[in-house]
Symmetry: D3
Subunit: 336 residues, 6 copies
């Protein structure tokens, strides 16, 4: 049977359409050694108010990124149908097994949810989650906001972002939503490899899509959580689901014009950065040293920027391995 | 046989006394399934110049704390005998197996080196390392500087610290060295449980001892590495080993006057801090929320400061478990 | 190449057709780190007597279910060609790697054999086993008896079962074999998700198929083993392969008329059942309490029957997780 | 320093003495890779009423035994100071890390708590728990009731038990409490190896001590939970802490007069019991068969009773390994 | 999208075509928990000289086979463009993750690279490596030499080999290259299962292909490394890429005329070989004993040759499991 | 209680003294998650004939060394009381858990048995085994032969050995037994660290003690097994337990006169030996190259002999880590 014609095994425990607010789960049967008739339970909140569009708000696409879940668990317990024109569907921890484990990928199948779209109803647990979003939740939405941060191994200056799209009208609507979000930075993303991403799946369905990178390191700060909370409220106001105008915020616009923005380590060692996130670096400047660790007395390897700009992202852990992206520089641009 | 009378199995591959600079290892035989006649190799640098005292500089006591190793691998490859009056012994990664794994404790025996002193020559690998320091390296030293940070699971405002000691002359010498270090904060530490600590072992041998907490999260920033580099140079200048005076630096003095400075989580969940490190908090103020993660729609648990002051330390990962120390407040005091 | 046209890599070490009794293995090459040219060896017994039909008898489809293997290892060493009219093929441990590990799924690939049908000759080890049954063993059979129990995490009242089938003649022949089996209970099974099941594959090939649930908990009792032994002998008599009539036994007929028969846990905790298997429960009655375990003094969650009947199945381990099926009620019916 | 003179690192979060009911934790600091300043949190309830003795009630000494925890979590949330003459201290899950993992031993250090007494304040996590009971909780008690069952790998007929003791007055008081408990069976236990047991530590302090084995298999049934609940209430009534008389119950008295009561497997294989728990077996009778699993067609090994009596305990999982205790027979005796 | 039309995610860090010598990596992005933007880095050397054919030289197809990597890391650091007519592409460790771990298969996905061809650009890490070779490296080559040995679990007499091919001209060119290699033995390989092999993929593209088995046991000796070094130089001379004639060497030609050359263990135990590699064995002769290990006093199982010849390969570890290939006999033949 | 006064928990299942031959086990209770009342079962054979001394023959002290177990499982099933003057106690796999796992150390506690003597009755499983030998088996013996080889990670030229001892009469008796053994090499061992060794424990009890190194790599060859079988028979003849004279054999006598005989790796990489075991090497000669593996084009590190002689031992796996002993040279001497 064609996988796409098979029913999803996921069962929502709450109605996704009726007026009111409901907190429940997406129940995904998962038979395993420690529970023959067990399930994965992904929390979901649905708030349905008066007439209006539907927003789908997601966090925990990667399980070790916390600004989105912090803003969405908070929103889910405070939002009322009375405040909503339309519908808000909140899934604060899409890849719940990964989120509960505090890891990027699922401990069940090591699936990276954001490389598993559009998914399969008869695939791995992670692919089944992707499939349910693709075929059941995204089609309900007019606007989709998916929260990311750097996770345990990357750190970013905080930004909201959209992609260049073939449909320029859709692209403009996405960047308008990014502007409404009001993060300290806004980014035009060009993905090196967009295969399997939630972003691509949503965009190909013609939706307004906003993504973010709001920090990283496997934690969240008071400052970055505040950015996330304000951003989600702003996007809902922008969409007309919440009343009022987005709270204005200064945002600097960034671009990554070349692959040279990405600098990869070719040696293992201890990383000593010479610049911190948000600082300006010029082409050829030493951004970090990599010290070999097995013996003392050796000169460290100097890692230089190949492209000037601000330091927009960096490897987070103190140790680095060959092939790890060590840092990313981005250029300040005029907003589109 | 009394363990203390047994010889240490550790063999240094370089002379610790002769003039000049030498880079080598402390070789500790470690027979195991994947190497019957294998060893742990702990990098060490010895720089011996003219007359003067001996400083023992250590990092990587916990394997996921990076400011100290970054400063010490750097110093080890730059320091020359000509610049040194006396001797500098540098061990940037004391618990090398933990450091190479990027974990607090040793992957070999899960030993927490800073709870394994004074060690045993016939104990675990971690206890053998402790014993070698206790009986062979610390006795050579006049001043000992041991770098710590928060590691993967804690984050601190950057400070150098000494302990209250029964010998007030020794205590004053320790705090003088802390002041010379010149970190943004200086701390009077009162350990809840000093059993097994390197600190206690060194202090009981009458040495000048300085410890630090310079950041955390399992990473190091350009800013905190600069603090570490300046601090070690300042301490060596203060000791008369390097020429010149310590570089002056403003430092705010902190105290933890009560157990109420420590606030522990009693529920598991997603942490959303409302305050960041270094910010002032007042008694009873909500410092963080803990959101239950298994379902949406529940009110988070508000975690309040029991003692006002500045937020000096916090749990780092986005998820917390019952019993984890969630945050620490400290009070600003006059320097001693 | 189309997978279905590739040859199976499985090699039986004994002839499946010649008269007599042979004990051997299905050898499945499995190259891995600890044996470059290794194999999985699945024990098989073939007993070929005079004219008659072929029965395929299987256990260990899930590796932690023991009534079937206990009856079939016993039968395999006692059955003689003289006693057999036709052929009996016995595979007491279909998913042998799982059986040898005492786990539901295979330790090699975590494959759940009963969700891996029809299998692939170039797939995982578990899929290769499924493919060999689908293309080589099931086609030889007229009647197939596959033993199940609850495994480590479920427990059942003992029953034999067949499914509703589109071909009512085939269905009637299946229920006749279920009746012959003579378990304390007989069940009309309606699978929630029949994708990938051995049952479905066999039934679609038009065979008479009987399955069972004879207990659980990862053990077998003297009582349930006796049920299995009598059942297999009865089925072989019913098929005319063994001489004589099935030994008569009282059996109560059960049905699961609705999804409400299945009750799932939504909280984690310690399970305290108020009813034992086989007891009658009425709709709305508390069947079990779930105590939160992280602290004392909290009221347990009362789990109530949504559908009255007898308690037919229950979660076995003392702890439960959200999404686990906690219990199943079934209704007593007239036998078909 | 003598370990016994070191303070315990355990901190109770509630007062153990004041009148009233309090639910809290024993907090045991446990520094580790995933929480540098983490703790183990063991739930505890203290109920203090009018004048009277102190009972210490414990479950989860082994983490996969559930009758005791089920009875004690239930009692802890229902018991009021008004109902109590004296004090009841309830720790439903002594080895909480093991209990939360559903395993006999602690996942932290693989410690078997019931072989770790009297414990050490500077030992493993499990030894620190033992030490806290030995030096802080048991001394508060007049009567101690510790619940056991067979856990995942053993199953027992349900009994309460006491040991032969050198002090015959103490022994008689213990057996009087066993009789009050009112389990279906009562046992005179002779431990093969009492080194490290909680039982021995408590008895040597002169306390009245009752232990149990109430089932097993890593589960609990409605029937065995009811035995535990009635037993704990009966013991508290017997001690005068709860009002009223113990509820009378028929109990058969058992003894294990010889090491021949224990039968060990010398071969690995699949176990097929011929007798169930509570059935009578005579000397020399086949109690179980062990089928080799790697091939079919081999005769099973017949395991015979060396000592007649009732089948009092058995190996639970379907597979057995050489050296496993396969079953235990016990003889029915006159109660002491 | 058809996988074959997707671009490979692999990026070479050096030019594969320009004259000169370059050492770099094949960088394969691999996002995972411990590096969100990490990569696998496979070392590669390209040496481009004057006009001539291209040779692709590979080792580490299985990660625990060392003669090839030893010869190729050596060659890569010594070969100069001046010495080369044409091009030499050297990948000493094809499955680098497996090679770095010292295991046959990849620790990332347990992929056996030599069963993963032709690969997929959107598959596992191992399948992505295979795909890059299939679509990007092999097409550049005229002659391909892939080094194998027995790895940790097999040991071989040292031989070079080619396969019987449908194109007899290609086959003859392959055997000519085998003869040029000059190993102590040369083999006509008949693979039992050629599905997924690099060999088959390369041969189907019409290339001259030589493979080897040069020893085993997870090590390499001075003798076998010398065979590998001489062999690769000989093949490059034979191809006209290096100047001069292949160094002549005596080689005995082997054939495996029947499946009976392979003898599999059906019991587990301790292996005691009675013959060593290269010794002659006759049909029916005892080549090895398998001692059961769980008890003493049992007769070992005698494993006999089913086909006379020389002992060409054997199981290496001291313990054997059912289904392991225990030994292989081969017959001496006239060279083709 | 003093550990040495506690009884051993080990129970032999056979009588160690009565005339005749008996095959049984040393049963060591080992309670664990997967068997609450489980045991470790160490196979043992006792052969008691006429008057004479007692020999204790052991293998599997390290679990991945196979010549000894191969010779002793063979001897155990062939030796008859009639052939024996005195008593032979055979334990082919002392550290049975390690032997069954094929690893140097025990999978239960990672204990290296040969560093665990004299052991403890209340220690780890490995320490309990050591204690039983120290207090129960060695005292029965007059002569002790303990078989070793290199295991998975070392390889040796085959030799029997004894140690220099303070009692020169005892030493001479040991070397006489070594000469009787008749291995291709005989060695005077000087242990760098004799703490915890079986050898030391046995020698301190005044026994004649012979040890061996007969090969390695985690395998055994027909040649080295023959050496072991002949050696044990020769030692029993030498002791007068078997009739006849030791079979004469040429043996070259080796000495390790200095720590410079041991050469350790200080870099990780791929090992390419230039010399094989038994070959002569001169001081300063390159014995092996270590190739860095993370990139091609780097010069390997040349590892040179510090002391001339023959290559007596070498690191076995293809990869080496810093601190691993890479090779050992030994000098040929006159036999003592």
């Amino acid at each position: 049977m064609n996988p796409a014609s098979r029913p999803s095994p996921v069962v929502p425990t709450v109605d996704l359409a009726a007026p009111g607010v409901r907190h429940g789960h997406l129940r995904l049967p998962y038979s395993r050694d420690d529970s023959a008739w067990g399930s994965v339970m992904i929390p979901i909140t649905v708030v349905v108010g008066g007439e209006g569009p539907t927003a789908l708000l997601t966090g925990g696409n990667h399980g070790d990124e916390y600004e989105g879940p912090a803003a969405l668990f908070d929103l889910a317990q405070r939002l009322t149908p009375e405040a909503v024109s339309g519908r808000v569907i909140i899934v604060p921890a899409m890849n719940y097994p990964a989120f509960a484990a505090g890891t990027r990928t699922s401990p069940i199948d090591r699936g990276n949810l954001n490389r598993s779209f559009p998914g399969r109803p008869d695939g791995t647990v992670t692919e089944k989650i992707a499939d349910y979003f693709t075929r059941h939740l995204v089609p309900l939405a007019d606007i989709v906001l998916d929260f990311h941060s750097g996770g345990r191994t990357l750190d970013f200056v905080p930004y909201a972002a959209a992609h260049e799209l073939p449909d320029k009208v859709q692209e403009a609507r996405c960047f308008a939503a990014v502007a409404a979000f009001g993060a300290p930075y806004s980014m035009r993303m060009r993905e090196i490899d967009a295969v399997g991403m939630y972003d691509t799946t949503v965009e190909e369905m013609g939706k307004v899509f906003v993504t973010t990178e709001l920090g990283g390191g496997g934690t969240a700060s008071a400052r970055t959580i505040a950015i996330a909370r304000r951003g989600v409220a702003n996007v809902l106001r922008h969409a007309g689901i919440l009343a009022g105008q987005p709270e204005p915020a200064a945002s600097r616009f960034l671009d990554m014009p070349s692959d040279d923005c990405f600098v990869f380590a070719e040696e293992a060692g201890l990383v000593a950065f010479a610049r911190d996130l948000g600082e300006e670096v010029s082409e050829g400047e030493v951004v970090a040293l990599i010290h070999p660790i097995a013996r003392t007395g050796l000169a460290p390897l100097a890692m230089r920027a190949k492209h000037g700009g601000i330091l927009a992202a960096r490897h987070f852990p103190g140790l680095v391995k060959p092939g790890d992206c060590l840092f990313v520089t981005a250029t300040l641009e005029e907003a589109p």
